[in-house]
């Protein structure tokens, strides 16, 4: 049984560009959450998707948007990239009432 998978593993972008990160949840999981982990910090909650709707959102600007597909996979989009967006982006999946399982993350570097 595959766990949570994320693509790509690493990504380098230039300031002002746009990026899309992808996540496939653990088999059977219907809820996907995204977190940003800056270097030396704990993960910060971006948003959560359930039944293709954004259910919760953290304190991130509108440049951060997402989508969940009918197969429960999800995308995170970031527009107008800033140097401060450089981080490890983690996806987590879960079932209602159960704990979240994390993927290996996508390392985004903005130059």
């Amino acid at each position: 049984d595959a766990g949570v998978t994320q693509s790509p593993t690493h990504l380098i972008k230039t300031r002002g560009q746009q990026v899309t990160l992808r996540c496939s949840p653990k088999s059977g999981h219907d809820t996907v959450s995204w977190y940003q982990q800056a270097l030396g910090q704990g993960p910060q909650f971006i948003f959560q998707y359930y039944e293709e709707e954004e259910r919760q959102r953290g304190n991130f600007p509108d440049r951060f948007s997402g989508h969940q597909f009918p197969n429960y996979s999800s995308e995170l989009n970031v527009n107008a990239l800033l140097l401060g967006d450089s981080a490890l982006y983690l996806c987590a999946s879960s079932l209602p009432g159960y704990e979240q399982y994390f993927g290996p993350g996508t390392r985004l570097t903005v130059t």
């Binding site: 910090q41 909650f45 959560q48 919760q56 987590a92 209602p96 704990e99 994390f102 290996p104 993350g105």
Partner: protein, 114 residues
């Protein structure tokens, strides 16, 4: 709003020594508590969780944590550590459900020396 404080950013210990990683949380409602471990260049792995019931929870690799509601703490302990326990440990809290938004502490780097 919920918050988590991990009182030690780094904890160096010798192999086979006991260790305690401290975590305090702040919340106005009932919470669910978690410890995650992160090895270098990897994602987070769930180590153990408190959802309800017994306040002492254990993991399969010898770690345990005790939920103390009066002190709003969820400290992680292990009686004898191994080199392989070297990693970053994150305490997290969730309100409203175990699969809802997680708020993390800043992490504690546990370094086990021979």
């Amino acid at each position: 709003a919920q918050s988590v404080t991990q009182l030690d950013s780094q904890v160096p210990v010798f192999e086979e020594a006991p260790v305690e990683l401290r975590c305090n949380y702040s919340s106005s409602v009932s919470v669910y508590l978690f410890w995650y471990v992160q090895y270098p260049n990897q994602g987070l792995q769930l180590l153990l969780k408190y959802l309800s019931g017994s306040t002492l929870v254990e993991s399969i690799n010898g770690f345990e944590a005790e939920f103390n509601k009066s002190q709003t703490s969820f400290h992680l302990r292990k009686p004898s550590v191994h080199i392989s326990d070297t990693a970053e440990y994150f305490c997290a809290v969730s309100e409203g459900g175990s699969n809802y938004k997680l708020t993390f502490g800043k992490g504690t780097l546990l370094t086990v020396n021979p």
